[in-house]
Amino acid sequence: MVEAGTFHAVAVELTVGSFLLATTATLLRAMMALYPRLGDKFSTSMATGLDGASLCGVIFGLLVVPFTIITGNLAADGGNSMTANKILLSGLCTGLWLGFLHGRLTLGIGLWNSKKLVILQSLIALSACQVVLMLSSIGGTLSRGETLTDLIGLPHLENSPDVGMTGSVLMFLCSSIALVTVLFMQPKSKRIADE
């Protein structure tokens, strides 16, 4: 019988790989957009390819995330404060990548023509990638007692905030209202045409 931990390891590798691909492709595409001289050295198909790679990486990563979370839950066998941090960070990770994907899909490929949007998408991708790395780091600490982030002196997230069930439900309700407000009441942006 293959244990949940083994499936979790596979799912984690797929998730981390996909998101790293998306981040790398986004940053390269952003450099092409921000430095026209650099962009001119490469063909248009290269730019389109990088955009597609980032999009595919995010979509595939987001498809694998539920599988990663479920196997992680099963492998945790009860869990502790570090797994609680993993639960919280996985929410942040999914939210950031969904935001990245929403931006790209609603604004279209033309977003690479806007300097502000290029910087924003790059920052979202970098932040989300950082969260992914923190999640991996906690996983390494849980399974091996050490993590590569020890080399750069990042602290171990060994304590987790506890706001109780009532606080959590309130947070959930407030955030739901915030999201519904943003989705249905905020003026929607238009798709930017590719020049």
């Binding site: 502790n80 996985s90 942040l92 931006g103 609603t106 604004l107 924003l120 955030s175 407000t181 905020q186």
Partner: protein, 366 residues
Amino acid sequence: MRRVFLFVILLVAVLAVPEYTANPGGEGDGTEEFVCGGACHGDPGLSAESSALLTITSDRSETYVGGPLSVTVSAQDMQLSERKLAGLFLLTGTHGVGDTPQADGWTILSDGAGGSGNYVEQRVTSLDGSTSVTWALRAPLVEGDYRLITAIHHGGDASARMAVDEVGVLITVGPVPENLPQISAEWAPPTKTLVGEEMVLSVPASNSTSVSLEWTSRGAEGSVVMTQQGDAWVGSLPIALSATEIQYRVVMTNEIFVESSAWITLSVEQQDILPNAWAFRFQSIAIMFVSLAFCITLNRRFGRPAKAGISGMESTFNQPSTIPMAPVQQVVQGIDMSDPRRPLTWSDEQWLHYGEDYLKGLEGGV
């Protein structure tokens, strides 16, 4: 030039790798051969010398086939890393292969840390910098002399360090005395339990007329009489209310002998569970919603066409007629309501509206 540059970068990358970062968090308890003492850091011979003073003692020098034996290894005065982690080995040689006690036929019943391996890692937290591990063993099924040795490896002063005590202890394994009370070789003593759980032991002891369970924990000690149920003797250890360690042994007696097992360590652990996993799941979803809403808002804010926004405002402010305004009432300046020239029959409203024209008419239409 590029090749030289690449070579320099690679060289710096290789030299920048710290030598002590192989497994700073430890390898974990388990069954490891001597070569493990260096495998994490290269060849054992490459490890720096440890200043550890190793001591190995046993509760007896002679036992019998399948008989009990307790071995205690202690170490002190070693230079440790910040993690204060030290790994202690119980070995039969330093060949690097096949030098575990198990390979020589010994059975490790307990490693004193809730497991049954020959390698135990401990954080050295005592003031005098010492640590010790007690193994409970069952002797091999072949008679003879057996040597048990010990080794330690740890990090310290930015190096992987290792020390070996190759003298160890010599144990003679003889034949089983006739009618000696014994525990079946199949019995695997429990070494781990959870706080608040009752630990019921069922010991398959033979040649015994009475069996008891002796235990000790943090200075407290006691004895429990076991009752015979079929081929096994059954008894319970006290229920621990907090994480601790309980050492116990089985004492078997008959008309001739009083025989006991080795001291076995039962590790009582706190069940490490989340107080309320669903609370964290709700928080996680909340964080996801908030971060998503934040990203969407930023995207919409920066994604709004700049020209349309400015022209909209300009068109509003450049065409005053489009600005919705309340009807403006004309206010006539210089009209005195108590002017003596005001006709007596005029109301205030008439004087306010037509007074100025009336006064101009009086003055000749100027």
